[in-house]
Amino acid sequence: MSFRSQQPETKQVDHISFVKPQIFDITQDVKLLWMQEVPNETVRLDLFFDAGITRGGKSIPAIVHSLLLSGTNELSSVEIHEKIDSLGGFLDTDISFETAVVSIYCLREHIRPISNIVANAIQELSFRDNEVEDVLRSMKQQYAVNQQKVKYVAQQQFRKQLFASNTDYSTISEESDYDDISLFSFKKFWKEHYLNGLTRMTLVGNLELDDVDALIDLFGKWAVDSKVNYANGFEFQAQRLDFPKDGAVQCALRMGRFLFHKSSPDYIDFQVLNTILGDYFGSRLMSNIREDKGYTYGIGTGVMDMNETGYFVIVTEVGKEVLDKTLHEIKFELERLQTELVPEDELNLVKNYMLGQLLKSADGPYAMLDMYNSVDMYNLDLSFYDDAIQKVKNITAVRIQELAKQYLNFEDFLIITAG
């Protein structure tokens, strides 16, 4: 046998150094996390706001989010961007269910001046008519484009159905949202959710303590003044709903169900099950539906974390003619996990893979801060990861089967198709 037939010896990851950021209290509930040890000139500052899409009716949160740098009485949006661009700064904004984030990327020599521009732009936001019209015009067009994407339609309808029991969480955008220029509600939302909505700041960069103090002084005045509450106790109906689209050659599929909060004792064990089923390239769904049948370019699963709960989702786009066959194979794979023990080889592979990925997610100050943040946000700490290493190493096939029986019954899923 050629030496090439034998895999070289490998060693399982057994230790990961987790580094904690420095933590500054802005108020009792709002803090800044700072990772200082960065070996180059780069800085990233993230501002988290209690301004997610579930925080206001219609599309108001998304519209206000898009308007954040649209101008003050003194400066137009182009002038604001001109100033930031002249300092080499990049802005990135993101809005999700429960949070909106504004991020600044730049060289460390520029973080203070850029932060001043951003702070002033948000604080003095003037909702100029022409800028509001421009943003709404663009958003309306983007909405029309999105409506033609089966993936987007499936995602929106999935959200609407899964969160059906809570209007704040289940309302999805409509075209008319962008015709209704409701300056009063925009301003109200901005005051309540941005000027009094900062929930957290994170910072990566080799800065001086003075810089950090200055950033806290600058943005800290927006800290929320009471504890933020998030929804819980959602109820949904397990059912299948199809949204046909003429001319589509592929069908988008989303199926899911509620799970548990990140602090649940089942959380990490379930992540192992999730990985086996659909969260890596060699997963069962990928092996079966892409690599064996060629029905799709990709299929994946994920555990989505929310502030008070969490849900599980399977996502794919498949040839329209093989949609039912795909659902049949998904059902087959869920049942196989419930009836057969995962073979030892496969389980070991997934354990090794997950530990390798964990090591990678702790690589470098940027990754480490994100890692810390993604537990701290849910009131957990770094022991979560030490615990994760132990749990991944020790999980058994029997335990995985138990979880599959509990959480992966095909009949318990909400199934949405579009296409």
């Binding site: 490998t10 990851v13 180059n40 780069t42 961007h81 067009q141 530990l355 690589d363």
Partner: protein
């Protein structure tokens, strides 16, 4: 500054080594000097099909992914019209597994009929997902043959026609592999907390016995100088009218390439750019507009694309756009604007060098251009660009006869 070492094996494999003691991970990046431009016109989409087949098992190893995942790693790849790039990221203590896998697939593929059959289907689904089942998804399939008449850039990486993939035979596939996937046609970069000596030992061990082949001679049809304005209007069931202006631009190795890059930034990279300000904010002709370059090795394209506002006409847009391009041809760019563009380039570069994988890919890319150290000289090149050079290059680019325009007219369902 990215430090590196370079050595070459007897079979022609170029190896770059980048030492980084601060990370527990390692990167193995392999750039093959083959892209869609190396396909014959009646068999397009092969380089990309290969990207898929390369994960279908090699001569001694039936499965590529499982052993790598078992070693805590993951891998992926991408194909362009110029290159194919494969990468693995894994804990450094298991680096040998990645070398074992990558070297075996350079030695030879498994070539099973099943793998060909399945990947053919997967690529067809990819074609549907990305090009057919998206609003505006097919514009590059229309724009490339409009802008290029002779050069193989006239077809997209996915292929000119999906039938080429449907009809690919095992013999075609084997011949394409033999011609392009061998040591002399590859650049390998090993990055992480691993010494040069150890790198040399491992590379020799795993790649040393792969037989040498001659680097294929590349004789591509040269695109004749464009002498006429080209335009094409297509009708699609999309929400809004869209436009794509393509201007031929200098090839990757020229200084003018960098100047053109700056010009595209000035026109439409950010929300303070010229096109954004004038066409979107002031004249309200468009709801979105961008300018960028294709970045290709041979003569590429500077693209200006966007979507019209409701009620705006292609004619209005055309007039306003050309008047802005005229300004770049007749007036020197103000110092403040030039420095704004240059500081952004510096910032981007600093962020890019943050990641180990990016560093490895960049080294390979520059080695392909002639010298990996180019990655360290790139910023100085940009910073040396003068307003006079910008004006001169703008005059070469923005001529009517150097332009191809694709319009997508929206028809209601």
């Amino acid at each position: 500054m990215i430090d590196f070492n370079r050595f070459k094996l007897e079979n022609g494999l170029t190896v770059l080594h980048h030492f980084d003691p601060t990370t527990p991970m390692a990167v193995i990046n392999t750039l093959y000097d083959v892209g869609a431009r190396d396909e014959s016109e009646d068999k397009t989409g092969f380089a990309h099909l290969f990207e898929h087949l390369m994960f279908g098992g090699s001569v001694n190893i039936p499965d590529f992914d499982a052993p790598l995942q078992n070693a805590g790693g993951e891998s992926n790849a991408f194909t362009s019209n110029d290159i194919t790039n494969y990468y693995n990221v894994l804990p450094v203590q298991n680096i040998e597994t990645a070398l074992w896998l990558e070297s075996d697939r350079m030695l030879s593929l498994g070539f099973t009929p099943k793998s060909l059959e399945v990947q053919r289907n997967v690529v067809i689904e990819e074609f549907k997902q990305r090009y057919l089942n998206q609003p505006y998804g097919d514009v590059w399939l229309e724009l490339r043959p409009l802008a290029y008449h002779k050069h193989p850039y006239k077809w997209a990486t996915i292929g000119k026609n999906i039938q080429h993939i449907e009809e690919a035979t095992m013999d075609d596939v084997k011949a394409f592999f033999k011609a392009h996937y061998h040591p002399a046609n590859a650049i390998l970069c090993i990055a992480g907390n691993i010494s040069l000596e150890e790198t040399k030992r491992l590379v020799e061990k795993w790649y040393g016995d792969i037989p040498a082949s001659l680097k294929p001679e590349r004789i591509l049809p040269k695109e004749p100088v464009q002498t006429e304005f080209r335009e094409l209007t297509i009708e699609r069931k999309v929400p809004n009218d869209a436009f794509y202006y393509a201007f031929k631009m200098p090839e990757r190795r020229s200084f003018e390439y960098y100047v053109t890059d700056i010009i595209s930034d000035a026109l439409g990279r950010e929300k303070s750019s010229r096109l954004y300000f004038k066409l979107k904010k002031e004249l309200k002709l468009v709801t979105s507009i961008n300018a960028y370059i294709t970045g290709s090795l041979d003569e590429g394209l500077l693209i200006i694309d966007g979507k019209l506002s409701d009620g705006a006409s292609f004619e209005d847009l055309d007039a306003a756009l050309w008047s802005l391009l005229e300004e770049l041809k007749t007036e020197l760019m103000p110092e403040t604007e030039a420095s704004k563009l240059l500081i952004k380039i510096r910032t981007v570069k600093e962020f890019q060098e943050q990641g180990l994988l990016n560093r490895a890919m960049n080294l390979c890319n520059y080695e392909l251009l002639g010298d990996a150290n180019g990655v360290n000289e790139e910023n100085a090149l940009y910073q040396s660009i003068t307003p006079q050079q910008i004006k001169a290059v703008a005059n070469q680019l923005f001529k009517k006869e150097n332009t191809s325009v694709l319009r997508v007219k929206s028809i209601k369902e």
